[in-house]
Subunit: 199 residues, 2 copies
């Protein structure tokens, strides 16, 4: 039975489809929206639809953008011979926030996951291979440090083995500021394995 | 600096204005929306705007609805001589879900809170008084068991003192299923004070 009026019930239901938004949160969000100034609600509603309808993948690197070619790929200030491979646009943004990476990216829009039935053909790997036929010095694999991310990294490095392109993987180890006590054993072993000479 | 394209940045900013949605959650929601089927996004966007533009207060009880008079107030199956006073439409829904209350409601749309500068004139109290000039047997005060809710309850009961209308307050005590060990002292004392004869 619906306890709210039709339009409010509909709003709660739609908000409840969003990830991490349960029935109670959806109600709370809905009532917040109902008490917001109408102009602000209109802005929110339009931002949602506009972002979705204008969303497309960059023709070069397949990041989510609203342009044909994203600002990074069209910039002549970036080193187009260094390509960092990431799983997701959010991972690209995480590296952009460091402000220290000046190459370009390739966004796979996923990772290989046999368990979920996602194979190499289901992510933007073919597109990466096409890009690598151009003039590329280094491919930095920055997929997540998960089973899927590692599987994807292994697949890419194997595929590129005989191309002469330098293939690197971002380091695994103890996060900066991390307290050893709270770090899992696999990470601790990785950190030991990847230890560096200090002098 | 904006790391996302303009429309995505705008979407993240708008979602970030919602209560309980921080920067990270806004990003997660935004990317979920960007990957949703366009038709579903259109439905969400429209649900938000429609709910807000059609939202109004019931002319009788001031609950949030999309009709001039809400279904409860316009029902002839309800006892219109018993009015339960609540702070918020969500409180009304909480009692409706019990399925055992057959009277009508009055939604104050707030509670008296001197600290926040909300006085009796800022909530729908005047409208309650006007309703009470009609044929009413009982006013059940079901404001929250908070400082504001109690202040509002006291104010209403004082105001109605000499009207001859029966004024009651929902009981305070240990919630059903509650373990005494985890219940705060004020509630325990309230429960003791409000104890009932068993035979």
């Amino acid at each position: 039975m619906d306890y709210y009026s039709k339009t409010i019930t509909k709003l709660i239901a739609e908000l409840g489809h969003l990830p991490g938004v349960g029935q109670k949160s959806a109600q709370r969000l809905a009532f917040h929206i109902l008490h917001m100034p109408e102009e602000q609600v209109r802005t929110l509603s339009e931002a949602i639809l506009t972002a979705r309808t204008s969303a497309r993948y960059c023709r070069e690197c397949f990041t989510l953008t609203d342009e044909d070619i994203c600002p990074i790929c069209s910039s002549d200030k970036r080193d187009h011979k260094t390509i960092m491979v990431v799983e997701d646009t959010r991972d690209l943004v995480a590296y952009e926030k460091t402000g220290q990476y000046h190459g370009v990216y390739h966004v796979l829009q996923g990772a290989i996951s046999p368990l979920q039935g996602i194979g190499p053909a289901d992510i933007r790997l073919k597109e990466l291979m096409i890009r690598l036929q151009g003039d590329v010095d280094e491919v930095i694999i920055a997929t997540n440090s998960t089973v899927e991310g590692e599987a994807t990294a292994t697949f890419i490095s194997k595929t590129l083995k005989d191309t002469g392109i330098r293939v690197t993987r971002i380091a695994s180890g103890v996060p900066v500021g991390g307290d050893l006590e709270y770090i899992d054993e696999v990470t601790l072993l990785k950190a030991l394995e990847n230890r560096k000479e200090l002098n």
